[in-house]
Symmetry: C2
Subunit: 196 residues, 2 copies
DNA sequence: GTCTATACGTAGATAGAC
DNA sequence: GTCTATCTACGTATAGAC
């Protein structure tokens, strides 16, 4: 996910910021702390990022792009709605385990973005919602799913997948793979799909 | 929920803090802002609360007590596991809509608590988890539910209910009552309970 | 209990040497 | 590009008048 961030010093700062924002929050993190986490002095940060807010925005951009690309790849692997939604929920959930720190930042700290940055990020979030919704709708239309409230059910699936980043710990008993598989299974139940 | 907070000036400060913590986060909120929200000057806050951290802790105590009491009342209304879990999910979800600001504070800002305060609050959170888990376990034991992974399924139900506070808006299309009913329905599906 | 004034620390951000 | 030093503003918290 971070491969596109260059040069290396910029990436180190970004990763240190993700760690700190995830743990202490944006407002609870000082630029000095970020710089120290990247092995630099306080002033060096401003060579790579204009402001602390800009740093958050670059993180938000990178992470949202990664999620959306992951979900789009996932649905493309299936053809029938149940297979597509299983793949979607597996990818959505396991991504939120694997990248739980980055996910926490984009879930918890987006209120700290300024209005222009927030508007730009909102586009990604809308597209993600639309993607999930359209997959649920397709399965309802085909008769594979039994869904009373399309929007609310799609949101429930997203809640399930996203919330993973809030409780997942690498030392915990379940792997990202297992979490993805379990949530894919629960999604089929939520959607009233026939048991396979 | 706030009736126990007296005198009135203390309650005004607490409510102003909840509003601001929910919107801007604990570290993003200044004591001046809280005091202004309660219609007071900056210094007056310290007559009612020892520190800003103490204010957060009082909020956390009050809100966690309210959630737990709500859930305990809810399960007591039913006898068979499906009815009990339906009541639980209805109460859990609608509470998180009705009290979405208070819920956001206890979901997003608990990392700002000091170690001793955090330990005290962790007791409430553990009890809430245990309550949900024990209800799921009872239904699995009775044969009403079909659950492969008790802990993970119980957590999924909690995710569904708690996440309501993160997206709910009073101007939105669904009432807390409707949200509670929908999540209760989805919970039955997640648990593999026979359709009523 | 509330106000104004203030002490003190730390935050974000910049300047200039290397 | 990185460092140290520094500017300036704002944060929490306290003191003392009313």
């Amino acid at each position: 996910m971070w491969g596109s961030v260059a040069p290396e010093a910029s990436r180190r700062l970004l990763l240190a910021a993700v760690d700190s924002f995830a743990e202490l929050g944006y407002h609870g993190t000082s630029t000095r702390h970020i710089a120290a986490g990247a092995g630099m002095s306080a002033g060096a940060l401003y060579v790579h990022y204009k402001t602390k807010a800009d740093l958050l925005f670059q993180i938000a951009l990178t992470v949202h792009r990664s999620v959306l690309a992951t979900l789009r790849e996932a649905v493309a692997t299936g053809s029938a709605p149940p297979a597509r939604v299983r793949a979607l929920m597996y990818a959505f959930s396991s991504w939120h385990a694997t990248h739980y720190k980055a996910a926490r930042v984009i879930q918890n700290e987006m209120a700290a973005l300024g209005p222009e940055h927030a508007a730009e990020i909102a586009v990604f979030r809308r597209e993600t919602r639309e993607l999930v919704l359209s997959e649920v709708r397709a399965g309802a239309a085909s008769g594979d799913f039994d869904v009373a409230d399309l929007a609310a059910t799609a949101r429930a699936l997203s809640s399930l997948a996203i919330d993973v980043c809030r409780w997942y710990r690498p030392e915990g008993p379940r792997t990202p793979d297992e979490i993805g598989a379990l949530n894919a299974h629960l999604a089929m139940r939520v959607l009233g799909a026939a048991a396979p």
